[in-house]
């Protein structure tokens, strides 16, 4: 069993428990132990766009330092937002020596200086580039036949280019994953549309429109369910369906899965790791279809 340090971030310990537990179980089934980073900090959440933003990189830098102190030069994460922030920060702090020095002086209370050598990879990259889709295919116990899935990337895995894990305009990694699991990946041009992100806090109506459009497009392309990789996307596209129905009573919902959940299904892992009780839109129909 190989081991890699894993950074959870706040959401995975709360509303996205279904994401974390399914991912940990899948990784283990595929020969990787995700060892949780000790004493991890907030990832910094939103990558700062102000021009003098070095202060905002202290949170991600602390996590990089923790990984360094654990004697590793890389780690993985699941949440797209954490990944994006950590990736962009690490690129900057690793590449620009001046910034690294300043950050280190901000973190004067830390025992060690951060040396600029830690890299973050997203769990999807681990699946694609290290474990490999072929290995995954060999481990599939229950192919997800009869399922039409719409891969949804959102923005944080693809933009900006320096953080992209795939071609920002026509990504393929989720499609390929869906295919090796035996399901059909439907044509889904809205796969990189914005889900509405944090507007969900103050502009619910805006997010309602986004969710309706995105799910509507998935339906139009005959998808049975959405596959996402970000807890915020999952919230906006799943939980907000509640609000969509209030505004559009004839709206037909669609279940939303994390990619790790469908992976867990195909690997035939204990269903408890998927915590379907956390979903707004029931997934029972889909589960039944897999059993057929």
């Amino acid at each position: 069993m190989k081991e890699i340090i894993y950074y959870p971030g706040c959401t995975l310990k709360n509303t996205a428990k279904n994401f974390e537990d399914s991912a940990l179980a899948c990784a283990e089934a595929l020969g990787y132990k995700l060892r949780e980073l000790e004493d991890w900090y907030c990832c910094g959440t939103v990558f700062s766009l102000t021009s003098d933003d070095l202060m905002h990189h202290i949170a991600p830098a602390r996590n990089l330092l923790k990984v360094q102190e654990a004697g590793e030069d890389r780690f993985t994460t699941l949440c797209s937002m954490c990944y994006n922030t950590l990736k962009r920060s690490s690129k900057r702090i690793n590449e620009i020596e001046d910034d690294r020095e300043k950050i280190n002086s901000f973190m004067y209370e830390e025992e060690n200086d951060y040396e600029g050598k830690v890299n973050i990879i997203h769990f999807l990259e681990l699946l694609r580039d290290e474990i490999g889709f072929e290995t995954i295919m060999k481990n599939v116990k229950k192919p997800l036949k009869n399922l039409n899935l719409a891969p949804y990337y959102g923005c944080m895995l693809l933009r900006p280019l320096e953080a992209a894990i795939d071609d920002p305009d026509s990504p393929k990694v989720l499609e390929e994953l869906i295919k090796v699991l035996g399901a059909k990946s439907v044509y889904f041009p809205f796969k990189n549309e914005c889900c509405g992100a944090y507007e969900t806090v103050s502009e619910v109506d805006f997010v309602v429109e986004r969710a309706r459009n995105i799910i509507g497009n998935a339906k139009r392309n005959k998808a049975d369910a959405l596959v996402v990789s970000c807890p915020l996307c999952a919230f906006n596209l799943d939980n907000r369906q509640k609000n969509v129905v209030i505004k559009y009573p004839d709206f037909e919902g669609m279940p939303v899965f994390y990619f790790t959940q469908i992976l867990a299904l195909a690997l035939d892992l204990n269903p408890e790791v998927c915590h379907y009780n956390l979903h707004y839109q029931p997934v029972d129909d889909i589960l039944r279809r897999i059993e057929q």
């Binding site: 071609d167 920002p168 305009d169 026509s170 044509y187 041009p189 809205f190 139009r220």
Partner: protein, 654 residues
């Protein structure tokens, strides 16, 4: 002691604004060996040249230094002046105080000081220059034209018409290039085939042209006037000498694959002629798809052939030719849609490139000239043209403008409207570039008479939506988002050099620029020639251009070739490497570093020699020679050292 004159040019204000030319002239008045130091507003003008001539006579000069622009611009000019005055032209040198000084500096005092150092170094060089004579070499009066598109065809015809033999090599089974795929041409809307095919036939029947289609240039040795070229004739599987071109073989072939000529919108067989008007009109076998080659079975075409011309031969034929000059006209290809994710990455069948739309427009195309959607064959009603798909996009794709797309998309929109009267064409553009004779009027006409809707803005996304393609864009004039449901989307993809151009350029030892197009010697004054002598460029291999420009350039390249052939012999620059036979130890390091194969070993004397016709004066062997035996004429180690000292203002140690 050499008697030298220094002539400093103002270059209008180009030099004089930054460098104090008058003060400079004064400073050099008493410089050792300088008999006259003066300035003039435009030294390259007639009065300027006369001034140099008069000074040479008056002061009995035997060395001339012109402090002006880069020698690539006017060295030839001033050496001609020097020669006309009876002084060996290699006693004239230019001190570049424009590109290397005034243009790149703003501080007058420092620039003037730098100009002084540059001039000093050149004076010191001239002091040691020897009289040289050009090297004369024989010339093989036979041209090679690579590429059988309109540019190659025109170049071949012009050279052949001037009376010289030409070999035209084309990699595809037929000549004609992309122009053969076009429907009608802007801005006159004359039929492309109608103006092209007569020229194709002329090439095939011209007594001075030998046409080698389905062939490639594999190797080029030698030098201007005396190239040895190895040409591979790819195996055709058919004996063209006895094939009558009846076409019955294709009729019985059971294989069907996407046709390259139809841009994948139509199909062809495995034994095929690319299009009905092909020249030569003889088939080749696509060995990757032919059943006989894949499984050994079939053989229908051979049974059908009355002439017994189908041989299934798969051995290439090689031939070596003596060639005097080479025209490279390898053309362009369109940047693949695959590379543009936001435009569907080639996954939406109703999103096609401009050349594919030409095939839909063409009366001989896969739909017989009816504008039908590739997805379901329905007549197209709303068509969206997107400009700059991959062009003018330095972050993600190509930084340059492909130059012809505004015009051909306008033409395509117009022809579409002529075909589908109730249809609506839209053109998304950044700005319309219609520089050309009759071009702007053509665009006006499309807007006014044919109701083509031009939308200034980019398309951010397009996707399949039911049986339509949904376009999400922006109109930057009204500042409003635009959504269009189209039947067909035509992308004006960036033009890129034909794949393989880089490899061919390597074989030929001609340069390519940052975007892969062939690099001309000077963008304005020597646009047809490679830096390596004896190679000339025509058509889109050098840069994107339309048919009139490609043809003009081809005729220009042809006249360069004819000019080269019309002299008794060729004159080459004598400022090349020489070997001091006494010092050469025969270590052969020079041979290993020479990029032009100009250094050869003399087995009898045990020393390395220089093939004078091949040497391009790069200096690599001079630097590499460990015994100091190799020197470059008029740029000897001694000269370089003294020039460096002059630049650095180090006093010569006596």
């Amino acid at each position: 002691m050499k008697r030298m004159g220094l002539f400093i040019c103002h270059c209008g204000t180009n030099i004089a604004d930054t460098v104090d030319v008058e003060a400079l002239a004064k400073r050099f008045e008493s410089y050792p060996g300088i008999e006259i130091s003066t300035t003039y507003k435009y030294m390259c003008s007639h009065p300027g040249q006369e001034m140099i001539k008069e000074s040479i006579e008056k002061y009995n000069l035997d060395g001339v230094i012109v402090a002006a622009c880069s020698p690539t611009l006017h060295e030839v000019t001033f050496r001609r002046v020097t020669r006309a005055s009876g002084v060996n032209p290699y006693q004239c040198e230019m001190a570049n105080i424009r590109e290397q000084c005034s243009w790149v500096h703003t501080d007058n005092v420092k620039a003037t000081e730098k100009a002084e150092r540059i001039i000093k170094s050149i004076i010191e060089k001239v002091r040691l220059n020897e009289d040289l004579d050009p090297i004369k070499v024989d010339v093989k009066r036979k041209a090679l034209v690579i590429g059988g598109g309109i540019a190659g065809i025109q170049a071949a015809l012009d050279i052949a018409d001037a009376g010289y033999p030409v070999i035209l090599v084309e990699k595809d089974p037929s000549i004609g290039g992309h122009m053969a795929q076009l429907s009608e041409t802007f801005p006159t809307l004359d039929c492309s085939q109608c103006i092209l095919t007569p020229k194709m036939v002329e090439v095939a029947s011209h007594p001075n042209i030998e046409l080698l289609t389905y062939s490639e240039v594999k190797k080029v040795d030698g030098y201007v006037g005396n190239f040895k070229v190895l040409i591979e004739e790819k195996p055709k599987g058919v004996d063209w000498d006895i094939c009558t071109g009846c076409g019955e073989c294709s009729d019985v072939c059971p294989i069907s694959v996407p046709s390259e000529f139809e841009r994948g919108l139509g199909e062809r067989t495995a034994i095929y002629t690319p299009f009905p008007q092909a020249v030569p009109n003889k088939p080749v076998i696509d060995t990757d798809n032919c059943l006989k080659f894949k499984t050994g079975a079939c053989g229908l075409c051979s049974q059908q052939c009355d002439a017994d011309a189908v041989t299934y031969n798969d051995d290439p034929n090689y031939r070596e030719e003596d060639i005097g000059a080479i025209v490279v006209a390898t053309g362009y290809e369109l940047y693949p849609i695959l590379n543009i994710g936001e435009y569907g990455a080639g996954e939406i069948d109703d999103v096609i490139d401009g050349l594919a739309f030409e095939r839909l427009l063409s009366a001989s195309g896969p739909t017989g000239g009816e504008i039908r959607r590739p997805s379901d064959g329905k007549i197209v009603e709303d068509v969206v043209f997107i400009q700059c798909a991959g062009s003018r996009d330095p972050e993600k794709h190509k930084p340059y403008c492909s130059r012809i797309c505004c015009m051909y998309s306008t033409k395509q929109a117009m022809l579409f409207k002529h075909s589908v009267h109730h249809g609506q064409p839209y053109i998304f553009y950044i700005d319309i570039r219609s520089g050309g004779k009759g071009y702007e009027e053509f665009v006006e006409r499309a807007q006014r008479e044919d109701g083509v809707i031009y939308i200034r803005g980019k398309v951010s996304k397009l996707y399949r939506d039911g049986d339509k393609v949904k376009i999400i864009g922006v109109d930057t004039i009204s500042n409003k988002p635009v959504e269009i449901e189209a039947d067909l989307v035509v992308l004006a993809m960036a033009m890129v050099p034909t794949p393989g151009t880089d490899k061919l350029a390597n074989t030929l030892k001609v340069g390519t620029g940052t975007n892969g197009f062939l690099q001309e010697t000077h963008p304005k004054l020597r646009p047809l020639e490679s830096i390596t002598s004896g190679f000339f460029f025509a058509g889109c291999a050098q840069a994107p251009k339309d048919i009139p420009d490609a043809v003009s350039q081809a005729s220009g390249a042809a006249s360069k070739v004819v000019g080269l052939f019309s002299g008794e012999y060729l004159q080459l620059e004598p400022t090349i490497a020489t070997v001091d036979e006494e010092k050469c130890s025969g270590c052969r390091i020079c041979i290993s570093v020479c990029p032009y194969n100009a250094r050869v070993f003399d087995e009898i004397k045990g020393i390395a020699r220089v093939n004078e016709a091949l040497c391009e004066s790069c200096g690599a062997c001079v630097v590499a020679c460990p015994s100091g035996a190799t020197n470059q004429r008029n740029l000897t180690d001694e000269q370089i050292s003294i020039m460096a000292k002059a630049i650095l203002s180090v006093e010569e140690e006596e």
